[in-house]
Symmetry: C2
Subunit: 353 residues, 2 copies
DNA sequence: CTGAAAGCGCTAACAT
DNA sequence: ATGTTAGCGCTTTCAG
């Protein structure tokens, strides 16, 4: 806490910094008791309209604003929930966050969210900081694979729901997309369009969804009796340079892949760029991406995707959380949301003759 | 505060809900005084390593987590800042939010953000709720045009910075893009490429940036000695249907516009769609959009934009805020960030011969 | 190096 | 309808 706003504030208010009025001050100003002010501030019944008016005037005159820290300390509940995700600026997660915010708002709760930047330690710090602020509940997109650090918090009553990826080493509610089946469907679609050499480029293998989507890819290939050598699979994260290198490798050599499956929206966007750059030189490469994204339908060719609904994931997770906060005590649930194959063109490009 | 997690939590912890251990409990368990626990928890000096170890063991055994509400109540500062913006899921605002989060993190502060959904009343509710939680500072993308409601808060020492749009009826720090000049540059670019009938489609006129960009459009037209009749200007918000209708109107009739200027990224995306739909039937219409967006360079034609840097806006605002929190007391500043014309193709389409 | 006491601003419980 | 008292869990102050 290195910040003291004294000087700046003094300038703005003529030196009255720290003069935050309290209910006691309001009570004195209005000539009433403390509890009466509390009643007015909280809209409780049992205050005559005349008294209420006097209190309201005092509140306005003094610029009083209730101190919620004191309130929380006394009441034990904060009417706020926390959301820890990978990156608030990722177009997959920002609608998820917004959906959670709307549900929270409908329940009169404030949402506090933080980005883990895919760093397990940062996820932990954030989640525990939120617990220290006594959020009523927590929604987490895991970066970590071990959530035992949350056990004391859960034991103390912090409702916890995991979304997009399952929790590690604890039993808790979770809301997931059906990654494996989605990927299998996408890859099967490519196979149906004649492809036999298909590459998979996905996120780090430590990420559950990356592993699941790879599994779907492998199953689809195996089901069709196709080989899937290691050189056709790259799980190295979403760094564009890395994705470019992997794609270049798979597209080179005597037996290049004729189609690519992208493990998430970041990879898809990079692959769209890569394929656009080589479009003029070679036979077009087919592409199916996991996750839908804005403008996918306006690219050339339009991009076929396995779509998830991130807002729906957020809504489901938030609703599950508030069910818990309202007292639901059935065993932890695993909610799986289906994906949807959206064919637009890039996934229907045939292999070279 | 309708939520009691009792039942759900009881299930998870065997009925020990509410047994959140306090420092007092830890002190008893470790056989030391309360203040010693406080010292250990806060990493203060003056505790023997033996005592410290005993306290740490008690903390772990009991699952103690400091209650920050009590801490805040006592200390007065929360080490958190608030950000109120239009929509966390908008690709323009989510990087802004993320940038603020990173600066806050570097200063040891937590960011709490909320979406106003462009509703002035909701902006006010959110900002005041954050003040009630005693955030140290506030960054606001205004939806309202009157921020006098913040006067008591600012007087009480809440540092406040406005970003993307100026505050209404109060004097405060602000960080803005140079909307008028950016728009003028974009429209002048279209004029330089031979266009004389150019339409402007932007956001609601109650939004400052929409008015400023319209002003830039008008100035560019006037500077070139071109007329800009009302029928070539539409400020009706970003609803796609509305934008479509406005575009259809401007593109119809005997003297249709040959180029369009889009007031923000939402409008641009809709216009890209509209123009793609009519591309086969007519001479291509030129397009320049305010705000850059992902994949703009991969559309056909690639979209020329007047780019702002939302992350940089967020960083500037956050740095200004922390300067205030660190005591800077110079008069409120108005920081203006330049825009950048990025030519990609759609803005260089010539008018029909 | 350690601890006891006071109190931050509010609400719950109990008067009146 | 209104007021009084106690205490939420922590940090500050001051004493050992």
């Amino acid at each position: 806490m290195p910040h003291t706003a004294r000087t700046a504030a003094s300038r703005q208010n003529g030196g009255r910094y720290g003069t935050r009025p309290t209910m006691k001050d309001v009570a004195a100003q209005a000539g009433v008791g403390l509890k009466t002010v509390s009643r007015v501030v909280n809209g409780e019944a049992g205050v005559s309209s005349d008294t209420e008016r006097r209190v309201q005037e005092a509140i306005t005159a003094l610029g009083f604003r209730r101190n919620d820290s004191a309130r929380v300390l006394r009441k034990g509940s904060t009417a706020s929930i926390g959301l820890v995700l990978e990156d608030l600026a990722d177009p997959f997660y920002s609608p998820l966050s917004r959906a959670v915010e709307e549900i929270a708002r409908a329940h009169g709760a404030l949402l506090i969210n933080g980005s883990s930047a895919e760093d397990p330690e940062r996820e932990r710090e954030l989640a525990l900081a939120l617990c220290a602020r006594r959020v009523d509940g927590l929604i987490i997109v895991p970066a970590s694979d071990d959530h035992r650090y949350l056990e004391p918090e859960i034991a103390a009553g912090v409702a916890t729901v995991f979304v997009d990826r399952p929790p590690g080493r604890i039993d808790a509610d979770m809301v997931l997309s059906d990654s494996a089946n989605g990927a299998r469907e996408g890859v099967t679609h490519l196979i149906a369009h004649g492809h036999r050499r298909i590459g998979f480029i996905g996120d780090h293998p430590r990420i559950h969804t990356a592993r699941e989507r790879l599994r779907g890819y492998r199953e689809a290939m195996a089901d069709a009796g196709l080989p899937s050598p290691d050189s056709w699979m790259a799980l190295g994260g979403t760094d564009p340079e890395r994705v470019r290198a992997d794609a270049a490798r798979m597209l080179a050599g005597p037996e290049p892949v004729t189609a690519l499956f992208a493990g998430n929206n970041r990879v898809t966007v990079t692959l769209v760029r890569v394929l656009a750059e080589i479009a003029e030189r070679e036979h077009p490469v087919a592409l199916v991406g996991f996750d839908d994204f804005e403008l996918a339908d306006l690219l050339s060719p339009p991009v076929t995707v396995v779509a998830q609904d991130p807002a729906e994931l957020g809504r489901s997770a938030a609703e599950l959380l508030f069910r818990r906060l309202d007292g639901a005590d059935d065993p932890p649930r695993r909610v799986t949301r289906p994906t949807r194959l959206v064919t637009r063109g890039s996934g229907e490009v045939p292999p070279p003759a």
